[in-house]
Amino acid sequence: MKNFLKIFSLIILFSSISLSTQAAEKVEYLKTDWSFKGLFGKFDRASLQRGYQVYTEVCSSCHSMKYLSYRNLAEKGGPEFSEAEAKAIAASYEVKDGPNADGEMFTRPGKLSDKFVMPYDNVQAAQAANGGAYPPDMSVLVKARGGGVDYIYSLLQGYEDPPAGVTLDDGVYYNKYMYGNKIKMANQLSDGLVEYSDGTRATVEQMSKDVTTFLMWSAEPHLESRHQMGFKAILYLIILTILVYFSMKKIWSRVETEI
């Protein structure tokens, strides 16, 4: 058993090293308490809905969300808009469909099954409209950046005047959390930019937190069921392990040897 604990602690050590090397060489990001972290982490429903509002009113003019469908907005574990609300949201977009029986393409109001409408037709169009920089698709953005949610949250609030000696080209901005500090996206958020219907004050900090929460959900739409299932699975495994441990003790008691 002693030996066993050694192995077990070795594995724990290995995991913590892997966790800490991930955290190494990173800038200190701004911290906030995320409701979705931890064993029972869940999304803050209201924050997700506000985050969706920030996304539609601010980000969506440049950034696509190609893996999300309007139906996702009403699904469990997400912003959980009512189905009627999600339908209304979908219907407010014009979706290109076709060809119809005459071979013509046509536009129609969006349906729940439609993917989020993209701001540009293709990558080239997006680049042309943004000075050569492609605004990345935001569906899995949180998982595609080393610092994850903390990085996105900090980046949105990291705009400042460049320090002396740093010259910036046209259309390039200084952000202290950006890799290399130069970013082609201008500061988008300012206090009171959006008007939250639930009365929450739309500070830059609040909007950053809400939209980052929304991005976390879009990258991990099943996060809540993952956490719930994980807790049950691990609890089940622990109970089973204890039972098996005692049966093992019983079986091995017939043999004069330590286990």
Binding site: I11, S15, M248
Partner: protein
């Protein structure tokens, strides 16, 4: 194999067994005499079997939904994550399962190194194990390419480019591997095919690995030959089954923690960016389990020699039974080897660490020293230790060191001096 003949009790059983002796096999597996002093380091064989089966089962399901096409692979993975029922669970088990598989295989290999399990008469078991390990690395690399993220694409580019180091035919081989002039759709489809094939090759080799194990039987922490069956052994079932089961459950708790709570921690964030041949990531790093070899590769300034060094670092293990000249198996009775063993463990961990860091400055220097030491350990230290080292007396049987103060101690010492 079991010494006694087995006859099934039922008439049908006997009829069947005469034609296909499956029942004899089952009986052999349950009765298989196993040393009773096996510690928990020995449970990783069973854990590895579990890992292999898990990877095959989850992989089959993923293959039903995955599309091996350069334009659709990334999307199909997101489709699995979002729209396939429990697709996220299957994929996270498969992705983290690869890491768990390697974690277990490294413990298994280092257990073998510590207790001298590779020595006669178990050389074939060991060599089959090394082939399995090589195939695992191939499967892991190929599998990492399939999501077609940035790290997939650039990892594939870097690794396949290693073949261009071969003189004269190198470039041709790389083009042949790619199926074109760069990593592209033909590369992806063939990688998918091979990724699907290799686990079944591994499965076949695992059967051989276990078969070869069942001829001499398990080594044990004391490292002595034991009579089978005797009071030193227990039947595999239920003793080892329950113990392996207990260890496996503990392992599954760690596994589950990764899958459910930090599923992406062992992967690289860049792999959630779709592959883009026009943008090179800032640092191209392989998965953690390949880092020590990556460090060796980069520590040699010449490309061809680097590739040779990396391959030799793995292949040298196959020659281990003949490089280690000591007749004593277990490090428990080899005071000097024990120290060198832990230095080697530290050396490999250091290699892994510098493999993750940029190859420059101090990191490069450390990588070079660690690489040199790695080869020194196998090529110089092990052969010399065998005839220089003063080993401790080994007991005659497993029961003896446990009961203590055995009258056989004098005989044991005699035997040990004969060995020297």
């Amino acid at each position: 194999m079991s010494d006694h003949e087995y006859t099934p009790k039922s008439k049908f059983g006997k009829w069947f067994n005469d034609r296909l002796p499956l029942l004899t096999l089952a009986n052999h597996l349950t009765d298989y005499p196993t040393p009773k002093n096996l510690n928990y380091w020995w449970t990783f064989g069973g854990i590895l079997t579990f890992c292999l089966i898990t990877q095959i089962v989850t992989g089959l399901v993923l293959a039903m939904h995955y599309i091996a096409h350069a334009d659709m692979a990334f999307d199909s993975v997101e489709h699995i994550m979002r729209d396939v029922n429990y697709g996220w669970l299957i994929r996270y088990i498969h992705a983290n399962g690869a890491s768990m598989f390697f974690l277990a295989v490294y413990i298994h290999i280092f257990r073998s190194l510590f207790y001298g399990s590779y020595k006669a008469p178990r050389e074939i078991i060991w060599i089959i194990g090394i082939i399995i390990y090589l195939l695992m690395m191939a499967a892991a690399f190929l599998g990492y390419v399939l999501p077609w993220g940035q790290m997939s694409f650039w990892g594939a580019t870097v690794i396949t480019n290693l073949f261009s180091a071969i003189p004269l035919v190198g470039e041709g081989i790389v083009t042949w591997l790619w199926g074109g002039y760069s990593v592209d759709n033909p590369t992806l489809t063939r990688f998918f095919t091979l990724h699907y094939l290799i686990p079944f090759l591994i499965l076949g080799l695992v059967v051989l690995h276990i078969w070869a194990l069942h001829v001499p039987g398990n080594n044990n922490p004391v490292g002595i030959d034991i009579k089978k069956p005797s009071k030193d052994t227990v039947p595999f079932h239920p003793y080892i089954v329950i113990k392996d089961g207990f260890a496996l459950l503990m392992f599954m708790i760690v596994f589950a923690f990764f899958v459910f709570y930090t599923p992406n921690i062992l992967g690289h964030a860049d792999n959630y960016i779709e592959a883009n041949p026009l943008v090179t990531p800032a640092h191209i790093v392989p998965e953690w389990y390949l880092l020590p070899f990556y460090a060796i590769l980069r520590s040699v300034p010449d490309k061809l020699l680097g590739v040779i060094a990396m391959l030799s670092a793995i292949l040298i293990l196959a020659a281990l039974p003949w490089l280690d000249s000591s007749k004593i198996r277990s490090a428990v009775f080899r005071p000097l080897y024990k120290q060198f063993y832990w230095i080697l463990v530290a050396d490999v961990l250091i290699l892994g660490y510098v493999g993750a860091m940029p190859a420059e400055g101090l990191y490069l220097l450390v990588a070079r020293v660690a690489t040199a030491y790695y080869f020194l350990h196998f090529l110089v230290i092990l052969p010399v230790l065998g005839w220089k080292e003063k080993t401790l007396p080994i007991p005659l049987s497993i029961t003896e060191p446990i009961l203590g103060g055995s009258p056989n101690l004098a005989t044991a010492k005699n035997k040990e001096s004969l060995n020297n």
